[in-house]
């Protein structure tokens, strides 16, 4: 099972190849948001119960699941921009 991105690395690459890598711990954000996420799941389940009673096909929890899937699929994203005149490059990587 895929999990959301845990690190976002910001790298500065010089013309000579020297690289400074700053890993930003995204897992800390998920940990901090965990109580809100749990609250949201419970709230969505309650709303879904009422939607079920009202014979509605839409489920709020599936929306949450879709967002989770979108977040998970962001893993592996890489953007590297370099300028010849500036003699360097910046790289953003989500792992």
């Amino acid at each position: 099972m895929k999990c959301p991105p845990m690190f976002m690395a910001l790298s500065f690459i010089s013309h000579s190849g020297a690289k400074i890598r700053i890993p930003l711990p995204l897992f800390l954000i998920w940990t901090l948001l965990l109580p809100i996420i749990f609250l949201k799941i419970i709230l969505f389940l309650i709303v879904d119960f009422f939607l079920f009673l009202l014979h509605q096909d839409f489920r709020m929890i599936s929306l949450l699941g879709a967002f989770y899937g979108l977040l998970c699929s962001l893993r592996g994203l890489k953007v590297k921009v370099g300028k010849k005149r500036a003699h360097g490059a910046i790289e953003i990587r989500i792992d």
């Binding site: 599936s62 879709a66 899937g69 699929s73 592996g76 994203l77 890489k78 921009v81």
Partner: protein
């Protein structure tokens, strides 16, 4: 379950029409023959990333996971029926006779598999090159 059986099952369940099943089976057989003709061809394996590379005065290298397409597909299933009707009507008014609810995850998987063969190369006069391709 093989792809052939899956297509036949979808036809039996009425999820696809006879014409669609015929198209899928033709695509499947052509894909198999292509795969056997060149073993290990990229068409048999679905690519994982979309790469965009720009070289020249500025160098840009972007890697986008194709899983984003699959994840986005899940959002289309959340579109309420009446909203889908509005979208279909608007698309028809603009000359696209297309049913948004007919897009299935299988179609996206097939699209991604075939994206492996795609490559776009653009060479500008100022020496800049743009390359868009899919790969591992």
């Amino acid at each position: 379950m093989s792809d052939r059986n899956r297509i036949l099952k979808m036809l039996a369940e009425g999820k696809i029409t006879v014409e669609e099943a015929d198209e899928l089976l033709t695509a499947l057989t052509s894909g198999i023959s292509k795969g056997t003709a060149s073993s290990g061809s990229s068409s048999s394996k679905s690519p994982a990333y979309l790469f965009v590379q720009v070289t020249g005065e500025d160098n840009v290298d972007i890697r986008i996971p194709l899983g984003l397409l699959r994840a986005g597909m899940k959002f289309t299933s959340l579109i309420p029926a009446h909203a889908a009707e509005h979208i279909n009507r608007a698309m028809k008014e603009n000359g696209m006779n297309f049913d948004i609810s007919s897009i299935k995850p299988e179609h996206v998987d097939e699209l991604i598999r075939h994206l492996g063969d795609m490559e776009i190369n653009v060479k500008a006069k100022n020496g800049e090159n743009v390359r868009v391709y899919c790969g591992e």
